[in-house]
């Protein structure tokens, strides 16, 4: 066979091939998304329940003052909408990363990881794909919320996009990192209790932080340090055509940190794959 000789050569991929790989991973995630309608619907129902029930019940209890980016008094529903968008992304990030862990020993993850592309590229592509799905979910939520009188300025829908990409990426990378490092969190209940709930409640998603400060200064600092607060605020400001620079900096910084951590965790030489017990065979 002459083919054998001709394939023995220095191996490298062109930038175009890197893009083909990325496109393929995103495309496949899109196909899965289309075929798993239940997942999409449940991702949409969750924030809507909060909006329709929780917010309706709470609007009389909680008085809001005028705080940026809002220029007038806003209804409680309007206040929590950005937090619920961030929640969609938080769930999506944790869920898709958990799927990766479940897939680890089965085919899905192996198929991805035996690709000859560098692993950081595969994981980043996978994260981007998951993020794009969460962006679609966020816009679907906003569409329904519009009928519930959550009407941000039209241009806000556009300025929201980069914020959504960034926050989705951060939360996806966090999920990937957490699920790779902590063995106890392999089921979703654990992730709910120890990651999603604390992050969601100790943030500015449901109540403005100045109100938290009034009741507990300590909790206030915890909220300020919570990256999820900054994802929420980045989204909130972007929805009203503004940039919250501090939140932007925090989200960018955390994204870089989490992504780096996740790539290290998935490195065969250092990461969790090497430490874990494999099934006998």
């Amino acid at each position: 066979m002459t083919a054998a000789a001709s394939t023995i050569k220095k191996h490298s991929f062109s930038p175009a091939q890197y893009f083909i790989c990325l496109k393929g991973i995103v495309w496949r995630e899109g196909l899965r998304f289309i075929h798993q309608r239940e997942r999409f619907i449940s991702a949409l129902v969750r924030p809507l329940v909060w909006l329709f029930i929780f917010a309706a019940g709470f609007r009389q209890v909680l008085g809001l003052s005028i705080i940026p980016p809002y220029e007038t008094y806003v209804l409680y529903e309007v206040y929590i909408a950005p937090g619920l968008i961030a929640m969609i992304q938080l769930f999506n990030g944790m869920q898709s990363s958990l799927t990766m862990v479940y897939d680890r020993e089965t085919g899905g993850m192996r198929t991805l990881l035996v690709s000859p592309f560098p692993r950081w590229w595969l994981l980043t592509s996978k994260l981007l794909a998951g993020t794009l799905v969460s962006v679609l979910q966020a816009y679907a939520f906003l569409l329904i919320a519009w009928f519930w009188e959550i009407e941000p300025p039209p241009l806000g829908y556009l300025t929201l996009l980069p914020a959504l990409l960034l926050s989705g990426f951060m939360l996806g990378a966090l999920g990937m990192l957490i699920s790779s490092l902590i063995k106890q969190l392999e089921n979703f209940a654990g992730v709910m209790n120890f990651v999603i709930f604390p992050m969601f409640f100790a943030s500015s998603a449901l109540y403005p932080l100045w109100r938290v400060k009034e009741s507990s200064p300590l909790l206030y600092y915890v909220c300020e340090l919570n990256p999820f607060t900054h994802a929420t605020e980045l989204i909130r400001f972007a929805l009203y055509e503004q940039v919250n620079w501090i939140s932007l900096a925090v989200v960018v910084g955390c994204t870089a940190l989490f992504l780096f951590g996740a790539i290290v965790a998935y490195d065969p030489a250092r990461g969790f794959l090497a430490r874990r017990n494999a099934p006998a065979g």
């Binding site: 066979m1 083919a3 054998a4 000789a5 394939t7 023995i8 050569k9 220095k10 191996h11 490298s12 991929f13 062109s14 175009a16 091939q17 890197y18 083909i20 790989c21 496109k23 393929g24 991973i25 495309w27 496949r28 196909l31 899965r32 075929h35 798993q36 020993e105 089965t106 085919g107 899905g108 192996r110 198929t111 991805l112 990881l113 035996v114 690709s115 000859p116 592309f117 560098p118 595969l122 490195d267 065969p268 030489a269 250092r270 794959l273 090497a274 017990n277 494999a278 099934p279 006998a280 065979g281």
Partner: protein, 258 residues
């Protein structure tokens, strides 16, 4: 480092590989090689270390001691080059059931940097090779297990690897489907010159002209052409040889611990 392009380079060369999970030794000083266009049967009972070995070859686990080379490319040092020559059929199902055969193959092509336009003829070719051309638009979930296996083999061949690994590829198949798949893959090695490493616990899957590696409790007990292995062990056939080899090893182990 560029390896010389000679025919003597084995498709797969495993040198003194060891691996442990905690204190449990999964592989102990394993060395074996698969020649170009060789059909090598990796024979071992469940728990012998076959899947661990596959995880190491595919770089899912880091290699702690020893070396693995694919056509001269070290898996640890040049993973891209090594993996691009490798096609794998995993033991567990690795296809998306919700999407079509063609979409699954397209995804795999993208993971190897093959564009949609280039992938089309390749897909047609590999589907033809496993006699599944007419099912390309079908949802994978609608296929039988045997057909899925054939699609997985087609997928593993899509990027034209020179080495094909199969981990217990006939699990769950009926006798007819098993024979079909064996036949397909054996033809690949003889006609296309692809090196094949076929891991199985089913002794009768090894053919008279195949190379055999006997793996038992993480150690290689024997390797070579089937006839040689049987001859050296003094057995009547491979089943007998396997029994003698593993029995003797267990006996030695027993004596060592006693």
């Amino acid at each position: 480092m560029k390896p010389p392009a000679t025919a003597e380079i084995p498709a797969l060369e495993i040198e003194r590989i060891g691996h442990r999970y905690g204190t449990r030794v999964a592989l102990n000083d394993v060395s074996l090689s698969v020649g170009q266009s060789s059909f090598t049967v990796l024979l071992g009972l469940n728990g012998a270390g076959k899947s661990t070995l596959f995880s190491l070859i595919t770089r899912l686990y880091a290699i702690r001691s020893g070396r693995i080379r694919i056509f001269g490319h070290d898996v640890a040092a040049e993973p891209g080059a090594a993996l691009s020559m490798l096609g794998v059929v995993f033991q567990s199902r690795a296809l998306d059931l919700d999407i079509s055969v063609r979409q699954n193959l397209m995804y795999h092509a993208a993971l190897h940097g093959i564009s949609g336009r280039q992938a089309d003829p390749l897909i047609a070719q590999v589907l033809d090779r496993v006699a599944m051309t007419d099912r390309s638009r079908d949802r994978v979930g609608n296929l039988s297990i045997g057909q899925m296996r054939r699609i997985e083999i087609a997928r593993a061949l899509l990027h034209r690897p020179r080495l094909l690994l199969l981990d217990e590829p006939t699990v769950g198949l009926d006798i007819k489907a098993r024979a079909d798949i064996l036949d397909h893959v054996r033809r690949l090695s003889t006609v296309e010159g692809i090196g094949v490493l076929w891991a199985t616990h089913l002794i009768d899957e090894a053919g008279a002209d195949d190379d055999v590696v006997v793996l038992h409790k993480g150690r290689v007990l024997a390797q070579g052409a089937l006839g040689e292995v049987v001859g050296k062990s003094g057995g009547a056939d491979l089943r007998d040889a396997f029994g003698r080899l593993t029995g003797a090893a267990d006996q030695r182990e027993l004596e060592a611990t006693a």
